[in-house]
Amino acid sequence: MRNFNALNLAREALRGHKGWGQQWRNPEPKKSYDVIIVGAGGHGLGTAYYLAKEHGIKNIAVLEKGWLGGGNTGRNTTIIRSNYLYDESAGLYNHAVKLWETLSQELNYNVMFSQRGVMMLAHNVHDVQSAQRHIHANRLNGVDNEWLTPQQAKDYCPPLNISRDARYPVMGAALQRRGGVARHDAVAWGYARQASAMGVDIIQNCEVTGINRAPGGEVTGVETTKGTIGAKQVGVVAAGHTSVLMEMAGVQMPLESYPLQALVSEPVKPVFPCVVMSNAVHAYISQSDKGELVIGAGTDSYLSYSQTGSMHILQHTLDAIVELYPMFNRMKMLRTWGGIVDVTPDRSPILSKTPVKGLYVNCGWGTGGFKATPGSANVFAHTIARDEPHKINAGFNLDRFRNGRLIDEAAAAAVAH
């Protein structure tokens, strides 16, 4: 692997960029590994990277049934923020934001993290109270978040319609200036490239079909479409398919999988300077560096693994977008797609040991896992390497559904996020 730097860039520019070579190896699986990570999305590749870099475990395979970064890592709307209500969430998501801030340097790969600010709109008295409660809780936890009047919101984001007779009048907004967006594919590629360089085997087109256990119950490896692979520890980081995989080890999960949709418009010149979310009308929007408006919609109301979603969900989102930003009412939408998100009862993730020795699970990110990628991967690697959770993810265990210590972001925000 060659480093990206000015000297190498200049050298390659002079010879037509022919010398960069492969960014990661494409190996066949070995007979066994110390650790197997199931799922080569951002969280899984990041876990392998931090295991190799911070915990000295390098005999790792990351197994992926499709292609690297082809699941929700490549399907989300790339929003990054950490202004969650509860202490545990603030700790986890803020850990991620801190890692995001230096990730491009750390990986020697430009993840294009742009802290353009994430603004969350309030449309009614309840929204205003809820946003202000979040702001106060965030400040106590050292998370930046501030209140904007409608005019201040409009100054920050000029396309916003703050007319008082709008269908969804803007009564104010909460702004996290450190929030923003990043290039989602680059996150997967950057982690893959560095992990591979440290000896991690990333094996694509290799679906896990079973989890093998010894008579004593502990994990001994996995069955895959490329044969049996042994491992002392297995970390499942499989988003929407987590229930299916955990069932193979006899662990039933408190998860439901739903299709979540997003869409992009035709590309236009820069018009939209920040990220704006509206929980009440369920529309998220930002503009990519290519110029497309990136719009996040809601989930379907029923379980599905179809990786698509219903038309009326998109229509509902676009209704709200056009009302909030009248200047977009003639924009053409270019592409829509869906991903399968795994949702927990309290809408907080699970990063945990499991009742099966040697089996770990990182799941339940619901509709908002991308923002946590580096933080999640970092503490999950710690959980696997030490066989105990990091203090940041200690509260995000599986036991909380038994002992009742939920981290109830669902009630705090009244929507999945």
Partner: protein
Amino acid sequence: MLLIHCPYCKQDRPELEFANAGESHIIRPKDMSDMSNAEFEKMFFIRDNPKGVSLERWRHIHGCGRFFNALRHTVSDKFLKVYKAGEPRPSESEIAELMK
């Protein structure tokens, strides 16, 4: 958009008239204070979440307003069967037959 057959109205109606109401045939206890934490977790939080046939409740909320049960495949989203609330859970062999 799905077309869903309401077993009470006996009509195919668009999905927008319905609300999904989660997994079906979950028996709620008569006395919750008798339950262990593990039993409560199983009843309240643990879900089948199958990649395959889902046994689920729907409510014809913008129609007759009544709850009914359905079998639906979660990859194709195709409904295999709808039946009225209170009717027994279809057997595994019946589900296998419907899958053909």
